[in-house]
Symmetry: C2
């Protein structure tokens, strides 16, 4: 299979992952001729999830992978024929996005109002992408934003994503990807390895130990022996099925002092990690690592900083965005044939006009402000501050023009976290780490 | 395409939607011969999301649809060859689930400890299904449980699911299905209509009104005219892009008194609904309905009960489970070759042995208690109470033996909500509506 075929396989039938109203709007706009007006839509978040100090952009790569395959096949069209006229169906049969897309690099920090994606083309070609683009950015950014807080809290200790079972089976794959972008070491999810090369990790569950039960009762040693026979002494043995102290003793008795790691999945993880570390050292297994799992979130991870924990497995809180399962981004029409447009409505002000953003930093690299300005009006230089443009060309005339990959995105997260003022890394609730200033943007109020 | 081909298309490559450790456990168990032991795994929730009084089982139908297609193809096997031995790969090449599945009907109420799904077969065939089954039940049940609270709060007024853009693009399809099971009238999502027959709904967004802007300024009437020309006067016009009073006047001026509905998407919805109702009546459009949308959840829906609202559109809070985005269900090994097994660990007690459940109700139909008991030991009859068995055969020898469908599931939700004691329908935080009693279950502590 060529890369292109593999990509097509992954994204079959994306065109119907769409809200019906995009198609009824298209039909009405084709009928009165407005469908062909030149437009720009922007994706941004009006605010960060409550108390969060930054967000991490994710979903960009998935969106770009999908875009060339957002086509309506005969089966799609026959469903749509129930409510669409012939002209609209003919338009859809030939549809492919031929416009331009600009956006923040995947993994970049974002703040309230940051124009993380800008889509330009005719109204017809842009309006159809609303639901799919938002689904990807809202889900993936929510996960990456939560994951980055966990990475920051772990202070260099490796994190493993293992929440597939707590979310929709396809969200799970995207969540593994988003966590990897944010700095996780790998994921339990095999499909994430197949699609995105995210390292797949994992060894065994309590079921495997329980399986080694006979009429005579449980036999933890038999389970450990079977695992070591199959996976080698470098494996991770789960030691808390019955009694942790006995479990650790059994683990070292079976695997020897070269045992890779033990996993603890219940109880007071800090206390247990200390006990187990002492026990392992006394058993002559000082290199055996300790992996903890069990309802961890960024706060629990931070609280374990002083403990002899070697790595963390994170499930539920990762895939649910640790309290913020969606990034709340919107896709708004901001310009029609060069005229800025914006809805007027209480609490939902939008800023008309196609925008770009620069981020200002001190010479030390610490960021101080984000400036969002009309696309053709860059801000004046600020004395002593370095201004970096945040948007990059992603698509031109329907063709992807970036070769950004997960490795670049991971670097961007690392750099972004490093650039935050110290307050920005606090886990407690607070304001965005830097203010966003809207400059020259036409506000239709 | 035959239904079977369509089904296969929908569920391509599900076998890798799996955690790696299921396959390493399989390898170890094949090696020591325990892989072929007869086992039962059960899915249950240790508790309901905080303060919830009931849960709704969903995901069953999707799981049964997927099961026959959970197969490892050559591409899957070549990925797995990186870490699996020849014997394991050979087993996977021939894999298909040939065991039995029993479970609660989709749409049934569940409570803490309810054994909503029971999977029996060899360890090898059952262990591989853990991640996929849990992903489906945890996601879909979380959505259906939140949706049922909204349906209950709406007291008969129609609800439309429109949250696709706030969640992963494939979760969106499953969320639309789960909301429909819980009693929603339809969804904005087209793929949910294609796959599941969920009625797709929707007409237009603010972008369509804004599109009708020229150098002379906005032209709301032109937008309404275009929409009415394309979709007829029965359509729903979005009236809050600029000024709601002017918007309503424009809507009736263009569409006439037979206008289907107006939609309000911002502001104080109760106040606005009253104003708009008065205005519509005065304009001679008493049959034009009022649809409200804008960050609604079950509490906002309940607070609008006294207002002249005809239907609700619900987005973010629906697809995120209204504060509980996952149902927290687990998949636990409870029996090996007839011997009950259970992990011993603080706060994570499981009850060993294969279980069934009966629900007790008064003669009026109001439920009073759920009894979970070992499969071969039904509880004694309770005087004056009616006991209903909750589990049904779903799969026998790998073949689906139920013809349950979305219609049955919808009926089950309606009946379930009707059977709750009055306290159970309260939206406020509280205890589960009925207690769960574990009878005769072997508790290994």
């Amino acid at each position: 299979m060529t890369p292109d075929e593999r990509s097509r396989e992954k994204y079959a039938s994306t065109a119907l992952l769409t809200d019906k109203y995009e198609l009824t709007m298209l039909a009405a706009a084709l009928r009165d001729g407005t469908a062909h007006r030149q437009t720009t839509f922007e994706i941004f978040a009006r605010r960060l999830p409550e108390g969060r100090r930054y967000g991490i952009v994710a979903g960009t790569g998935r969106f770009l992978d999908t875009l060339p395959h957002f086509r309506f096949d005969d089966a799609d069209l026959s469903l749509l024929a129930d409510f669409l006229d012939t002209e609209t169906l003919a338009y859809l049969a030939d549809y492919r996005f031929a416009g331009d897309v600009d956006g923040y690099g995947e993994g970049e920090l974002y703040f309230p109002g940051s124009p993380v994606l800008s889509v330009s083309g005719t109204f017809a070609e842009c309006v159809l992408l609303e639901t799919l683009a938002l689904s990807m950015f809202n889900h993936d950014s929510a996960i990456a934003s939560a994951a980055a807080r966990m990475v920051s809290a772990a202070e260099g200790r490796p994190l493993i994503e293992m929440g597939s079972r707590r979310t929709h089976e396809m969200s799970a794959v995207a969540a593994a990807r988003a966590a990897y972008i944010a700095g996780f070491s790998g994921s339990s999810n095999l499909e994430a390895q197949r699609r995105y090369g995210v390292p797949a990790l994992g060894t065994s569950a309590h079921a495997f130990t329980l399986l080694h039960t006979s009429a005579d009762g449980p036999d933890e040693r038999a389970a450990f022996q079977a695992q070591v026979d199959a996976l080698g002494v470098g494996t991770t043995l789960l030691v808390d099925t019955y009694d942790i102290t006995a479990g650790v003793a059994n683990a070292v008795a079976i695997a020897g002092s070269e045992l890779g790691a033990v996993r603890i999945d219940s109880g007071d993880l800090g206390v247990l990690a200390r006990q187990v570390r002492t026990q392992l050292d006394e058993l002559g297994a000082p290199n055996t690592r300790i992996v903890v799992t069990s309802d961890l979130d960024e706060f629990a991870i931070a609280s374990l900083r002083a403990e002899p924990v070697d790595s963390y497995g994170v499930g539920t809180s990762l895939v649910t965005g640790s309290g913020a399962p969606t990034a709340g981004m919107v896709y708004k029409l901001v310009e029609v044939d060069g005229v800025p447009v914006a809805k007027r409505s209480s609490h939902k002000e939008s800023h008309g006009g196609r925008k770009q953003a620069h981020r200002l930093a001190k010479s030390t690299g610490t960021i101080v402000e984000e400036i969002v300005h009309l696309a053709d009006r860059p801000p004046a230089e600020s004395a002593g501050l370095v201004a970096t443009a945040l948007a990059h060309p992603l698509v031109r005339g329907g063709q992807t023009v970036t070769d950004d990959d997960l490795k670049s995105a991971r670097k961007r997260v690392t750099a972004g976290l490093h650039s935050l003022p110290w307050d920005g890394l606090k886990l407690s609730r607070g304001e965005p780490a830097i203010p966003t200033r809207m400059v020259d943007a036409t506000r239709q109020a």
